[in-house]
């Protein structure tokens, strides 16, 4: 198990998933991020579907980094926290995939390749009764970032997120879980741990240290 301080080595982005008790724990963590930190953050917190999500506004006021609600097709910026809007899945689009039947690489293909990851929204069926779903975010981010992704599972009262963290592990990304004994709802962190080993199992205090130690620009 590597230490908290090494956790950000070679990491470009972090995905964070939480449900019951998530807003409270995030309000202890996100404000710790240094203003100039270089990673991008994608967050799914389960909130009641009918209510417009005010999470990004709530956190924007408290955080040094830029916090906003994810928009479809938006290019990913460093040092920014993106919240999934309520009632939509948030996915990370890797950028260009190999194309066939386009006459081979040309200038047009180069401009496509120059694009980094972008955000995508989807209104597919809920997963584990959840939309946004943590699994959907984590699986697409694992595909987009591979080993340069950190996946963090926090408190939660259902299993949405456990398979997602396993996908991060499979893509050789770094996996972090809030210790169930200090989570408001231990079901999600326990489910995540039951799917396989994780790199870091952290107390709330250690999580705060993790967020505070996120390094500045490359």
């Amino acid at each position: 198990m590597s230490g908290v301080r090494q956790a950000w080595r070679n990491i470009d982005a972090a995905v964070i998933g939480a449900s019951a008790g998530g807003v409270e724990v995030l309000s202890l963590l996100l404000p710790r991020l240094p203003a100039a930190c270089s990673a991008s953050f994608f967050v799914v917190v389960h909130v009641p579907r009918e209510r417009p999500s005010l999470l990004s506004e709530l956190f924007a006021e408290r955080c040094a980094v830029c916090v906003k609600e994810a928009e479809d097709k938006e290019p990913v910026e460093p040092g920014t926290v993106y919240f999934a809007p309520s009632d939509y899945h948030l996915l990370i689009e890797r950028g260009p995939v190999a194309e066939v039947g386009q006459g081979g690489p040309g200038p047009a293909d180069h401009s496509r390749a120059a694009r980094g990851p972008t955000l995508a929204l989807a209104s597919d069926e809920p997963v584990h009764f959840s939309r946004p779903s943590i699994d959907v975010l984590f699986e697409s981010a694992a595909d987009a970032y591979g080993e340069r992704l950190l996946g963090l599972i926090l408190t939660g009262a259902n299993e949405d997120g456990a398979d997602g963290l396993a996908a991060v592990r499979l893509a050789r990304g770094r996996t972090v879980v809030q210790a169930p004994r200090c989570a408001a709802a231990p079901i999600l962190p326990e489910a995540a741990l039951s799917r396989g080993s994780v790199d870091l199992l952290l107390s709330l205090e250690q999580l705060q240290e993790l967020f505070a130690s996120c390094p500045a620009g490359r």
Partner: protein, 274 residues
């Protein structure tokens, strides 16, 4: 990052589907497409996309099944009531000025958006002089849209949405409940034309005053989004209206200059003079 086998197989499969069945998914956003193809592989017991491609090329009936995975069919009547309320309160007064009205519900799937629109126009006294084009690429979904039959269990949610949209009548005026199903009224369908149309490959077909295309463009990549928005611009009359999904934006589109925001919060836009 190197491409996995799946990433290599994906564009090959889409190309095969296009050549064999003339459905063009090559401009669909990859992340959610991958997810849905993953479900299709599991459901159809294919170990790889190549295996799925092989079966698709040689077992034509399988394509209809795949189409259900690839086209998303998730909506409710009056989903996002605020959108319909904004149409009712801010767009309908301007639509009244037209002697006859054409509305295009693009990507209508199983019809929830279409019946919402028809009921709204009926309540506002406009349905009689309106023609609604309801288009989709999935023939099975279109048939279900045309049938207008939904599980009675969904009616509670539909009714609540309808009320919140500023309803002027009771939703129960528009359907008959029987055997756990709610069948929407034939009179609503008299002014609806259901048609097969692809935003990827087909062109504009009529001049309309309102296009409603919600939660469809999020499944397209930027190039295909631009194509679709170009079709909407070409179809809309001078100062016509475009309604998008609650989280859809024109901000990253090549056509952002062709439309101005009309009701910003509810994603209703208006065509600008060229």
């Amino acid at each position: 990052m190197s491409n996995s086998a799946f990433d290599i197989e994906l564009p090959l499969l889409l190309e095969a589907v296009y050549l064999r069945y003339h459905y063009d998914f090559r401009g669909y956003a990859a992340a959610s497409l991958k997810r849905r193809l993953g479900s299709a592989m599991r459901q159809l017991s294919c170990a790889s996309l190549s295996q799925l491609q092989d079966r698709l090329l040689h077992e034509p009936p399988l394509f209809a099944t795949l189409l259900d995975f690839l086209t998303v069919q998730v909506s409710d009547l009056f989903r996002d009531p605020a959108y319909f309320r904004a149409l009712r309160e801010q767009v309908v007064p301007l639509l009244r000025t037209y002697a006859s009205l054409k509305v295009w519900v693009a990507g209508c799937s199983t019809g929830e958006e279409v019946y919402s629109m028809a009921i709204l126009l009926q309540e506002e006294g406009l349905l009689e002089r309106s023609l609604i084009y309801a288009t989709d690429i999935n023939a099975t979904a279109l048939e279900r849209a045309q049938a207008g039959i939904y599980d009675a269990a969904r009616i509670g949610g539909f009714t609540e949405n309808h009320t919140r949209s500023g309803a002027r009548s009771s939703l129960s005026d528009y359907y008959t409940a029987a055997y756990g199903k709610a069948v929407f009224d034939k009179s609503l369908k008299a002014n609806i034309v259901f048609a097969d149309h692809s935003l990827s490959t087909d062109s504009a077909f009529s001049e309309v005053q309102l296009v409603s295309c919600r939660n469809v463009l999020i499944y397209f990549d930027r190039e295909l989004q631009d194509r679709a928005l170009g079709l909407f611009r070409d179809s809309l009359c001078h100062k016509g209206f475009l309604g998008l999904g609650a989280k859809e934006t024109l901000r990253f589109s090549a056509h952002s200059g062709a439309f101005s925001s009309f009701v910003a919060n509810d994603r209703i836009f208006r065509k600008e003079a060229p």
